[in-house]
């Protein structure tokens, strides 16, 4: 993921993008303005210090007059206190703004993700989305809040200092200001290259992480193949690249600072020469205090300049992150309820359930054609009539596209032509939430969420009582094993449910599906083998789930296939045969071959367990 994140680095700074992004941060604009105000005050304080030194020299030390030192000290203290207050205020405000912007942008992104269609998820790896929502937004918050502080402070400081110098002595001021553009150019040049250098380092570093990952995961294989030395050689090359890249980047940074300091020293030397000679010549235009103030200004003005260079380089580096976040926010879902539908039934976040019609469960495909983005048509003029309560089995090899039909029924995708009707009404005339609230869905790889068993079952119907949850569990024969868990229904299932076995997760996902008493039931049957006992329980669960519901099953089990009212045989994404089990076997076509193979496989697996346990 890191790699993906680093690749797309754009060269030009895109002001429009940043403006749009800052637009998304609207609730925090007042914070940002407050920060700028504080920074301006802070920059003024910073420029006051050299002036205080000037006064100390000219008024007290050179004149030998001690009167007023107390007041001077008091003024100094006042500036210190103001400055400390400013520092506290902007640290606090920046922290607030950073965290707040993070939260705000993350919430916007997540909400958008809830609306986006599956075609989005098909093209975006989950890891990529996660890193965009976590690290990209974090970087944006940081860059906007702190970058802005630095930028504004640096700008104010440079302007005020330049103005002060010009007021004190025009000629000397011009000497210092003459060096400024040189430093600015050098700073920008270096900062860009330093950032680019570290980007290569990060990229190599993620390759190294990958190499360790492969090295450790594959260690057993490497041992059996006696590949240790070859692997070490390859790794050493990578480690060498890493050293080379790191040294390159480090040397560039090591070069940058001394160059800026040396340029600064030239400016200071010019001031010392010019100012010192003026004092010596007693023209009266320069005092020793002024000279000291100038020297300290001349040294101080260069830090903000390289600061600004760094911020711009930073902005450019963060731009890729900004682009990713903005593109997430501005991606339009492909499947939308029309405004009329939303008007009547509400949207996914504010449903109007009082207007929702009852559902019976007739499903009709009427001249449906469909293709996934840019790929060839997988359904062409397909029609199918399923009466409420019937079971349809989808059969085919792995990867043959059995889930297409399911995706269309769930309205995860929409037909490119024709329509899908539920109870005789086009699904697009009902809200997505209405349809999906009446679906029961069990995945091949059951997906549970961290939390207790109870919470996971309740996911199916949020207002279910504890009794209802237990009843649902009993219906799918899951109650028994749940009670043997350490805390029964209150047992934590772990991340993704990984503290439970696959069979247990499947049972819970059945309970979760039927607690909502859905009219339409979708089942993607698992292929993974479970022990005989769990297998029997799963059969019960399936039977319970199908009873009285219109069901679509991506089927792997012989018993499920045989019991279906209708079988759709799918090959290379297309429906090639259709009919009942008996009639399809008679055809001796593709289904026949699939069935024979399946029969053998399942036979071997199940019978071996059976024989071994006998």
């Amino acid at each position: 993921m890191q790699q993906q994140q680093e690749v797309d680095f754009t060269q030009k700074l895109d002001a429009g993008l940043w403006r749009r992004l800052i637009g998304y941060m609207k609730p925090y604009h007042k914070h940002l303005f407050a920060i700028m105000g504080t920074m301006a005050v802070s920059a003024v304080c910073d420029t006051l210090f050299p002036l205080m030194t000037r006064e100390a020299i000219d008024r007290f030390m050179l004149d030998g007059a001690g009167a007023g030192v107390g007041l001077f000290a008091l003024r100094y203290l006042l500036i210190v206190l103001t400055q400390s207050l400013c520092i506290f205020a902007f640290c606090h405000l920046c922290g607030r703004a950073e965290c707040g912007i993070n939260r705000h942008i993350r919430a916007l992104c997540f909400r958008r993700l809830q609306e986006l269609s599956f075609s989005y998820y098909d093209t975006m790896p989950v890891g990529f989305i996660i890193s965009s929502i976590t690290s990209d937004t974090a970087r944006l918050g940081e860059t906007v809040a702190w970058g802005l502080v630095d930028l504004f402070w640096s700008g104010c400081y440079i302007i005020i200092t330049a103005a002060t110098m010009l007021m004190l002595h025009v000629q000397m001021a011009l000497l210092v200001l003459a060096v400024m553009p040189v430093i600015a150019v050098v700073a920008v040049w270096f900062q860009m290259r330093i950032l680019a250098g570290y980007r290569i380092v990060r990229k190599t570093n993620s390759q190294i992480t990958g190499a360790y990952n492969e090295g450790i995961m594959g260690a057993k294989t490497t041992k059996t193949l006696v590949r240790e030395e070859a692997n070490c050689r390859e790794f050493a090359e990578l480690a060498g690249t890493m050293r080379f890249a790191s040294i390159r980047a480090a040397v560039l940074s090591a070069l940058f600072l001394p160059i800026v300091t040396s340029l600064g020293a030239i400016a200071t030397a010019l001031v010392l020469w010019k100012g010192g000679s003026e004092v010596y010549a007693m023209t009266g235009s320069v005092t020793i205090g002024t000279l000291a103030a100038f020297i300290s200004n001349a040294t101080g003005i260069f830090e903000p300049i390289s600061n600004i260079a760094r911020i711009f380089a930073d902005l450019q580096a963060t731009q890729a992150a900004a682009e990713r976040v903005v593109s997430t926010l501005e991606t339009e879902p492909e499947i939308w309820d029309t405004p009329e539908v939303v008007e009547q039934f509400g949207d996914s976040f504010q449903p109007k359930k009082e207007n929702w019609p009852e559902i019976k469960g007739d499903v009709t495909f009427s001249h449906v054609s469909f293709h996934y983005n840019t790929s060839e048509e997988v359904l062409h003029d397909f029609s199918l009539e399923v009466k409420a309560g019937q079971t349809v089995a989808l059969v085919g090899e792995t990867g043959s596209g059995k889930s297409t039909i399911v995706n269309l029924i769930c309205r995860f995708y929409e037909p490119t032509a024709g329509e899908i009707r539920i109870d005789g009404v086009d699904t697009r005339k009902r809200s997505m939430l209405w349809l999906q609230s009446h679906l029961g869905y069990v995945l091949q790889q059951p997906h549970l969420f961290s939390g207790t068993v109870r919470e996971n079952i309740r996911f199916g119907r949020l207002d279910a009582t504890d009794e209802e949850i237990e009843r649902a569990a009993k219906m799918v024969d899951a109650d028994g094993f749940i009670r043997t868990l350490e805390h029964g229904y209150d047992t934590q299932v772990g991340e993704g449910g990984n503290r439970l076995s696959t069979g247990q997760k499947q049972l819970i996902s059945f309970a979760r599906a039927i607690i909502a008493d859905p009219a339409i039931f979708i089942l993607d049957e698992a292929t993974s083998s479970v022990d005989t006992e769990t297998e029997q329980k799963l059969q019960t669960a399936i039977a319970t789930a199908l009873r009285g519901r219109t069901s679509f099953i991506i089927a792997h089990r012989l018993s499920t296939i045989r019991n279906a009212d209708m079988i759709l045989v799918i090959r290379d994404g297309k429906i090639v045969e259709q009919g009942s089990h008996k009639s399809l076997l008679k055809q001796r076509g593709y289904y026949y071959r699939l069935y024979v193979n399946q029969f053998r496989e399942e036979g071997e697996r199940a019978t071996f367990e059976q024989a071994a346990n006998a």
């Binding site: 210090f49 400390s84 360790y212 059996t224 050293r243 010596y280």
Partner: protein, 617 residues
């Protein structure tokens, strides 16, 4: 895991790591010294000039300038302050010159310390990698990948950063303090004391704060981790969320997580705001104190104007490094922990071989004599296993999960050693045969094989990097891999794994068999390695194998683990393993007539075939 290293051991380890880069390291320290010296001279030059000019103006120029040697000698020889004030351009020249020298050494410091620390980091990375691969099978069977990777990457980075910048930063700070103290106390002891009065509380504040804030950071990180976990779960389960229409519910859950992250991070930033403002206030007050008392001492004539400026400069130069020092010292603990975690790996023993082990002819009869084995002594996995096969024969093994089949095969590659009994190949005990040699001649295909993330071609040729493409293609044909490889757009150049396609279990198994067969084997082990291909392909591959043997002339002694009767039936010897012991032994025709697991499985599988015949008739 190992015990924590003592400080002494830690030092030894550091110095061992620095082997070969010590001169660079010392060089960078020297460069620090020069750079600091130069930075301290600059204010002195200003001070000398200011004093000279003001003395000349007030009509009391001294014959000796207020400059350090050798500059003082230079100006004194030419007439002292009067000369200097008239030739300020010379001071400006010196200023530029020494700053260039300082800049050069500043650069050298960065360059040398980067070179030294990167060399150390490279060595650590290579050693860790090599050591991980050298560890025995048992270590990897138990290893936690995520944790190990973290040690090899993040912990190495912590140590590297410590060596690259933090050590020399500490050194620089100490040098600065010593130098400042020396120079300042030579000018005015009273003002020196006043100038340092707020330094200890400042340092203490930094030390205490950074130590303490780490806990808050850790809490914020934890909240971050929970957020990522929640996202991961919710996004991988997006189908479930949609199918149950739980968008609103998920948004609320996400809202809780980001609120948590927000609150924890705001707390950190609040504390940071207090710290920064307090420590900045102390710093500014310190500068102010120095200035005000400087004025007092100057009025009393105890100190020159220039000297006050020197004090003010020195203090502002010192304050920042001292505040950083607090941070570095509190980081030191982290480095120590990281180094300990790295050495936990490096100190774990590597796999060793029997003393005097040597290659041997492996195409010989194989005999198991009363072999027992267990991962821990209490629970034996294999009990008293004895059997004998002739060179070139095929042995099939049937047994339930956990019956010890795979362990028996691990012993043949010496991935583990028997706890009792002996395995002999010909007249050589197995443990006297060189491990590496043994493993290059015994082909072992596992049930869930690991493929490297490189092209399919490279994966097959991994055992023989110089293999001809024709050989790779031929072996892909034999293992029925060429069909699915041909379906990929890039064919044999298709990348496998993270950066490429994900192969199915059956496809992986076929590639794994191919890579093993590409090499000459004396013994071949197929550890349930056809379980994920269908029965027909299984048969086709085995047929092709037989043909291949006839081609190559010599048949490796083959061990096949499977639960398909059709796969087992042709073997010269069938072993039925139950509970770690051989329950039955014989050929197919013998075993189907003996009551036991084999005949049970045989009967059920045949009955199923009959049922299929009936149904499809």
């Amino acid at each position: 895991m190992q015990s924590k290293p003592t400080s002494k051991g830690l030092l030894r380890r550091f110095s061992a790591l620095m082997q070969g880069s010590r001169s660079k390291y010392l060089g960078s320290m020297f460069a620090v010294l020069v750079a600091v010296l130069v930075s301290f001279v600059t204010p002195l030059l200003f001070a000398g000039t200011v004093d000279a000019v003001s003395n000349v103006l007030s009509g009391t120029p001294s014959v000796s300038v207020n400059l350090p040697q050798p500059f003082r000698a230079f100006y004194d020889a030419r007439g002292g302050e009067a000369y200097l004030a008239a030739h300020i351009v010379s001071v400006a020249g010196i200023l530029i010159l020494i700053n260039l020298i300082g800049g050069l050494f500043q650069y050298l410091r960065g360059k040398w310390s980067a070179e030294a620390s990167e060399m150390i980091a490279e060595r650590m990375r290579n050693r860790l990698y090599a050591h991980l691969l050298s560890m025995d099978f048992a270590y990897h069977a138990k290893a936690e990948t995520g944790d190990l990777i973290q040690r090899c990457t993040l912990d190495v980075e912590t140590v590297r950063r410590f060596l690259a910048s933090q050590v020399s930063e500490v050194f620089r700070t100490v040098v600065m303090i010593v130098m400042a103290l020396t120079l300042m106390s030579r000018i005015h002891v009273g003002l020196t004391l006043i100038s340092l009065i707020l330094i200890p509380p400042l340092f203490g504040l930094a030390l205490w704060f950074f130590h303490w804030v780490q806990k808050l950071f850790a809490e914020a990180d934890e909240a971050d981790g929970k957020l990522s976990a929640m996202l991961q779960e919710s996004l991988t389960g997006v189908r479930v969320v949609r199918a149950f229409a739980r968008q609103q519910y998920e948004s609320e859950r996400f809202g809780q997580r980001i609120d948590d992250v927000h609150d924890k991070s705001v707390r950190v930033s609040k504390v940071m705001a207090v710290y920064w403002s307090c420590s900045d206030m102390l710093s500014m007050l310190q500068t102010g104190l120095t200035l005000i008392f400087g004025i007092r001492f100057a009025l009393r004539g105890e100190i020159s104007t220039g000297d006050v400026l020197v004090f003010v400069s020195y203090i502002s130069m010192l304050i920042w490094p001292i505040r950083q020092l607090g941070r570095i010292l509190s980081d030191f603990g982290k480095c120590k922990v990281s180094l300990g975690r790295i050495y936990d790996i490096l100190d774990a023993p590597s796999e060793t071989d029997t003393h005097g082990a040597s290659p041997a002819d492996l195409y010989q009869d194989i005999e198991f004599r009363n072999v027992s084995f267990g991962y821990d002594a209490e629970k034996p996995v294999l009990k008293n296993v004895s059997f004998r096969v002739k060179a070139g024969q095929t042995v099939a093994i049937l047994g339930a999960t956990g019956s010890g089949k795979s362990s028996m095969m691990h012993l043949l590659q010496r991935l583990f050693e028997p706890t009792d009994g002996e395995i002999r190949i010909g007249d050589r005990p197995l443990y006297t045969i060189d491990k590496k040699y043994l493993r290059t001649r015994v082909g072992y295909v596992m049930q869930e094989p690991f493929l490297y993330s490189r092209s399919i071609r490279d994966n097959i040729a991994i055992t023989q990097p110089n293999a001809l493409m024709a050989d790779v293609e031929r072996i892909a044909d034999v293992t029925a891999s060429s069909e699915f490889i041909g379906e990929f757009e890039k064919g044999y150049d298709t990348m496998v794994g993270e950066r490429g396609v994900t192969l199915s279990g059956g496809q992986k198994q076929r590639v794994a068999i191919a890579r093993t067969l590409l090499r000459q084997n004396d013994i071949l082990i197929l550890d349930d390695s056809l379980s994920a291909v269908d029965t027909e392909t299984d048969r086709a591959i085995r047929m092709a194998l037989v043909k291949e043997r006839e081609h190559g002339g010599r048949t490796p002694t083959t061990f096949i683990i499977s639960h398909r009767i059709t796969t087992l039936a042709d073997a010269d010897l069938i072993l039925v393993l139950e509970d770690g012991g051989i329950r039955q032994m014989g050929t197919h025709s013998q075993l189907i007539h003996t009551p036991g697991l084999y005949s049970r499985v045989y009967r059920i599988q045949t009955a199923l075939e009959d049922e299929l015949q009936r149904e499809t008739a």
